[in-house]
């Protein structure tokens, strides 16, 4: 099976693996994910306008691959809320991590990496199996069959 390894610097947290969901749009947990005002038990994407490619997708326990974060400091709160219900991301892979997301990763120990040697949003496809080793700063991608 085809494997690709992306390399970067030491990240946040330890090791995690899981199925990747990838977008080229910036993500806001507070404005894009069900959460507080629609369904606090859901990690489903509810923002059709800003996140058309992820609309309706359940982000729970996935490895999230997105360029960076956007609007709203309460993304930290949303990630913490979802993580405490076992609905948080398994890992996060960014082109450059938004500080609001980085603090959530630090507090929750979510493996998070950025500034890799290739653009993760192009190399990784939704459905690929991804292993993040944040201390080594590596991302091992096993391409989805077909």
């Amino acid at each position: 099976m085809e494997k690709i390894v992306l390399k970067g610097h030491k990240g946040i947290g330890g090791i995690a693996e899981g199925e990747a969901v990838v977008t080229k749009n910036a993500l806001s947990f507070i404005f894009d994910v069900g959460g507080i005002w629609l369904d606090p038990m859901s990690a489903k994407v509810t923002n059709k306008q800003e996140m058309p490619d992820w609309y309706g997708k359940d982000l729970a326990n996935k490895v999230l691959v997105f360029p960076t974060g956007r609007g709203g400091i309460f993304s930290t709160a949303m990630i913490m809320g979802l993580a405490n219900k076992d609905l948080g991301p398994k890992a996060m892979i960014n082109v450059k991590t938004h500080p609001v997301f980085a603090y959530a990763s630090i507090v929750l120990d979510i493996p998070t990496v950025d500034e890799l040697d290739q653009n993760p949003c192009e190399v990784i496809k939704t459905g690929d199996w991804v292993k993040v080793d944040a201390q080594k700063g590596t991302v091992e991608v096993t391409k989805k069959k077909g």
Binding site: S28, T68, G71, G72, T76, M80, P99, I106, V107
Partner: protein
């Protein structure tokens, strides 16, 4: 990352567990972002703990709130004080306000708590700051030349306690130079704060994956631009995107000229904004044939807007089928009470909220961000794209009108005034 002896002592637990935990978080953040050292913070602002759309950030089921509460309890137990020279806080709940006061925070009333209208102390050029609200941070960076990253509640809280923040991102000279050019055409309407918010929304949306790139915005005539205009622009810059620092040629202290902003480099991208692009944003939230049930001015009324709205509603009545709610900046609140303008608004049937985001509907306080669909609302008219972006997800028809006059008239007549 180089730490001073004092910072090392904090990190090793020499000042107790609270400082140790705070410094550990800040060091992890600094190392992740390649910071070489910590720098002193002149001002940390915890106001946005008052929560999402009127208090939900402080609700007991908010896990971040619980995390911060536990942290504050530890601070109180260890009798530590916030080291940041001045920290303002309106925590949104009496319980948390009491804790914050014990830690040495200065409490201010909640009016306009997440607007730069009343920030105190006013940050000075070049100072390191950690404002809580994104729009305040963007205002400090872009219009005052103070320096702050978009840290969010955890980073702000730890900076308030330790008086330090890692030196990365927008704290560094090299990251404050413009990378992207945004050329605003002559045909772009910039008649009021709503037009400015729409321009900001378009730029922010277009550059939403560019958190780390500073745009230099050209084509704006600085004459006649008001602080209200720029403040609503800053709010939109953080929704839908996340622009922490922008430079407007001729208005921003670090962008007196395009050349200064770019430091002689060529922009890596140029974006041209015309009337068509602006109209596309208004068209996303068009007037509907529905009756407007809720009309709100979600940007807190500044002094100017307070006088404007009071003059428009004086001696008139809000339509019986409409709930019309406003809230005020801290200064406007004081002036409104002193000059009797609050009474003018209330006599006309306008609900003057104590906290941002509160709406009075059928005699009950509600928050459209969380309650709109549950209460069966169909249509809401607003001046806020942030409202539109958030509340439309509840399948409510959101209507963005391009002037204060049209919004107030809608509240008075009970039909959407195009």
């Amino acid at each position: 990352m180089h730490l001073t002896k004092d910072e090392e002592k904090m990190l090793s637990g020499g000042y107790g567990e609270a400082y140790r935990r705070a410094m550990e978080i800040l060091v992890k953040m600094g190392e992740y972002n390649g910071a070489k050292r910590m720098v002193p913070v002149s001002w940390a602002d915890l106001t946005t703990f008052s929560g999402i759309g009127g208090g939900h950030g402080d609700s007991p089921d908010n896990d971040m709130y619980n995390y911060i509460q536990d942290f504050d309890d530890l601070c109180i137990q260890e009798n530590v004080k916030l080291k940041c020279p001045i920290t303002l806080a309106d925590a949104g709940s009496p319980e948390r306000n009491e804790k914050m006061a014990k830690l040495g925070a200065m409490l201010i009333p909640s009016a306009g708590a997440s607007s730069p209208h009343d920030i105190f102390p006013l940050p000075l050029f070049g100072q390191y700051v950690t404002p809580g609200a994104t729009n305040i941070n963007t205002y400090c960076n872009s219009m005052l030349g103070a320096r702050g990253n978009n840290e969010g509640p955890i980073g702000v809280h730890m900076a308030a306690l330790t008086g330090k923040t890692p030196e990365y991102g927008y704290l560094l000279d090299e990251n404050r130079l413009a990378k992207t050019l945004v050329d605003v055409g002559d045909d772009v309407p910039l008649n009021n704060y709503i037009d400015w918010a729409v321009l900001g929304f378009y730029i922010s949306k277009t550059l939403s994956t560019h958190y780390w790139d500073v745009p230099i915005i050209t084509g704006i005539n600085p004459v006649g631009v008001s602080s209200d205009d720029v403040i609503s622009f800053c709010a939109s810059m953080n929704n839908p995107g996340s622009i922490t620092l922008f430079l407007i040629e001729g208005l921003s202290p670090e962008g007196r000229t395009k050349e200064q902003a770019l430091a002689g480099a060529k922009p890596k991208e140029t974006i041209v904004v015309g009337k068509k692009e602006i109209q596309s944003i208004y068209d996303t939230y068009p007037p509907t044939g529905n009756k407007p049930e809720i009309v709100t001015l979600r940007y807190p009324l500044s002094l100017q807007r307070l006088f404007d709205v009071a003059a428009m509603v004086e001696g008139k009545k809000v339509h019986k089928d409409v709930s019309f709610s406003v809230d005020l900046t801290l200064t406007a609140k004081i002036v409104a009470e002193k000059l009797g303008l609050k009474k003018v608004l209330e006599d006309a049937g306008v609900f003057v909220a104590e906290r941002q985001g509160q709406v009075m509907r059928n005699g009950k306080l509600m928050d459209p961000w969380t309650d709109a669909r549950r209460l069966g609302m169909k249509t809401m008219v607003t001046d806020s794209l942030k409202d539109c972006n958030a509340i439309c997800q509840q399948e409510i028809d959101m209507v963005l009108l391009p002037s204060l006059e049209q919004i107030v008239k809608t509240a008075l007549t009970g039909k959407v005034e195009v």
